[in-house]
């Protein structure tokens, strides 16, 4: 089993979710995060004070999948989240040892 973690632009979330359900992903977890990267932030001015805001709102998606599905999932996210403009985000993949479904106690593949 693998964990696929993607950082994407917030307004792409619905499209990515649709792309994932289309290829059979049944569950995922989403977190609001802030990203720092090549994409430039903006400046905010409050009366006399300027703040350079370098962190931009992003969405983190985490999906546990069977190893044989990783490629499909990464491809689905990549194409759904892409705008071609700087700041589109990243996908990271890493291994998981174990998965448990709390409700039933099922583990690993059955738990996803």
């Amino acid at each position: 089993m693998k964990f696929v973690m993607a950082i994407i632009k917030p307004f792409k979330l619905d499209e990515v979710r649709d792309a994932l359900t289309a290829i059979g992903v049944q569950g995922l977890t989403v977190t609001e995060v802030k990203g720092y990267g090549r994409q430039k932030g903006h400046t905010e001015i409050y009366r006399g004070t300027e703040y350079a805001v370098s962190f931009l709102p992003k969405i983190k998606i985490e999906i546990a999948v069977n190893t044989d599905q990783v490629e499909k999932v990464v491809a689905a996210i990549s194409s759904a989240a892409k705008t071609g403009q700087i700041g589109d985000g990243k996908i990271f993949v890493y291994g998981i040892d174990q998965a448990v479904r709390i409700r039933t106690g099922e583990t690993d593949t059955e738990a996803l």
Binding site: F11, D14, H42, T43, E44, I45, Y46
Partner: protein, 470 residues
């Protein structure tokens, strides 16, 4: 039934004297003296209770706009756009307030004193005689609807200022979340000048009870009933909103992205302050403090309550939920509908009118809008436009003395309905044409919409350089 105070004729008298002065210097002084004597004889009676009521009403309508309307709208947009809405309402209010002093009051509330002086334009628009409030002093008075009862003209100036300032601001809801700041400001000024001022003049300008036969505004002359501004304010702004949102086009992601209101709590505060401020709007329009003023407040309570309950009830019947936003929307619909009838309906009529408005506006917003597919961001047309028409026509019914209303003379519902319908039509055409033409011109010169990236990022950062919440 007459609706606008006669304004102090002293100015004209003085002007006349001045002319006389030019012709024969030695007659000037006596002329003035006579004038003064006449004034002393019929010294206009100003009751400080009335004055205080008008001051209070003025303040209430301001609170209704800022923060009331600003919050009502601000809560309904996404959090990335809330400041843009607040600042549009705030700056719009400020801008129009100043223009009101510069030329607005004069164009709306002056005109020929006698039929002989009237021109072709007299029924449609005023003159520039009182630009910069020329001749309006702290002693000038304006007649109320009761013969011989006057209020300081300046209280009338500031009370009407607030009407002029809130009306353009209402339109902002239709075009929220995508319009350029400069474009909206220019549009408000143009629309105020070419749609609001003529409508106010046509509906409200007359010579007052002491000069009831003198010239008056076109619709006023027809006998159209509009106690507190159903046509001038709500239909006027509602239709402008419809035209504007169509010309502007839909928001990016419309019907796809989640555009749920970012804070219904703010919307609720706004709705409550609208209601509270509306008492000044509706009952202040009586221009004095008496039993009828209390009736107008009562109507403004029960019509609104009925509309809110009606909206919630139908929502619950058709969708299984009675929502807070439904309650607030219904309340505003009720407030809009009772506006032209506030001092003309009995409490029973007000309840019925409110309930009808609640249901009709719900239907306009929930069924008509999706059917037609325009993107009126905050339902300005569905609530103010449609509610305004329901109110304008409904006034003909609930004002009937036979139904507990306060209509006077040889009142027939059918006859009044025709007049009201004609008034509605004039309003729709005026504001429709003015809005359409002015927006197209502005579009060509400045452009109307922010860039796609600005719209995605939100107008708060993109246009105003700040964020609402940190």
């Amino acid at each position: 039934m007459k609706f606008v105070p006669t304004l102090d004729r002293g100015v004209d008298a003085a002007k006349a004297s001045a002319l006389a002065l030019g012709l024969s210097l030695f007659t000037a002084l006596p002329a003035f003296a006579q004038d003064a004597a006449a004034t002393a004889a019929a010294a206009p009676k100003v009751d400080k209770g009335d004055t205080t009521w008008m001051l209070v009403s003025t303040i209430l309508v301001i609170m209704m706009t800022i923060p009331g309307l600003a919050l009502f709208y601000g809560g309904l947009v996404r959090s990335k756009n809330v400041l843009s809405v607040l600042v549009q309402v705030f700056a719009g209010f400020s801008l129009i307030s100043i223009l009101w002093v510069v030329y607005g009051y004069s164009l709306a509330f002056t005109g020929a004193g006698t039929a002989a002086d009237a021109t072709a334009l007299t029924p449609f628009i005023g003159t520039l005689d009182k630009m910069f409030l020329a001749g309006v002093t702290t002693d000038s008075v304006a007649e109320t609807f009761t013969k011989g009862v006057y209020i300081p003209e300046l209280t009338f100036v500031i009370f009407q200022l607030t009407f002029a300032a809130i009306t353009p601001a209402l339109i902002i809801g239709a075009i929220a979340e995508r319009i350029k700041f400069a474009a909206v400001m220019v549009f408000l000024v143009v629309w105020f000048t070419f749609s609001y001022l003529p409508m106010a003049h046509m509906v409200w300008w007359w010579g007052g009870p002491s000069a009831a036969d003198a010239p008056s505004g076109l619709l006023f002359g027809w006998g159209a009933l509009d106690f507190a501004g159903g046509t001038v304010v709500h239909i006027n702004a509602g239709v402008a909103g419809l035209v504007a949102c169509i010309v502007l086009g839909k928001r990016i992601g419309f019907n796809k992205d989640n555009m749920a209101p970012h804070s219904l709590v703010l919307t609720m505060i706004g709705a409550c302050l609208l209601w509270v401020g509306w008492f000044g709007f509706n009952a202040g329009s009586n221009l004095e403090a008496n039993g009828l003023t209390a009736q107008a407040i009562l109507n403004t309570i029960v019509a609104t309550a009925a509309a809110a309950l009606a909206w919630m009830f139908v929502e619950w019947l058709t969708r299984g939920h009675a929502s807070m936003l439904g309650a607030a929307s219904g309340a505003v619909a009720g407030l809009v509908a009772i506006t032209p009838a506030a001092g003309l309906a009995g409490a029973g009529g007000a309840i019925v009118l409110g309930a009808v408005a609640g249901v009709v506006c719900l239907w306009a917003v929930v069924s008509i809008k999706p059917m037609l597919g325009y993107d009126d961001s905050l339902d300005v047309f569905g609530v103010h436009g449609v509610g305004g028409v329901v109110g304008a026509l409904g006034t003909a019914i609930v004002a009937a003395p036979s139904l507990g209303g306060f209509g006077v003379g040889e009142y027939t519902i059918a006859g009044q309905l025709v007049i009201q319908a004609k008034a509605v039509l004039v309003c729709i055409v005026t504001t429709g044409v003015v809005s359409f033409v002015s927006l197209y011109v502005i579009k060509m010169i400045f452009g109307l919409r922010v860039t796609e990236q600005a719209e995605r990022e939100g107008l708060d950062i993109a246009t105003h350089g700040e964020r609402a919440y940190n």
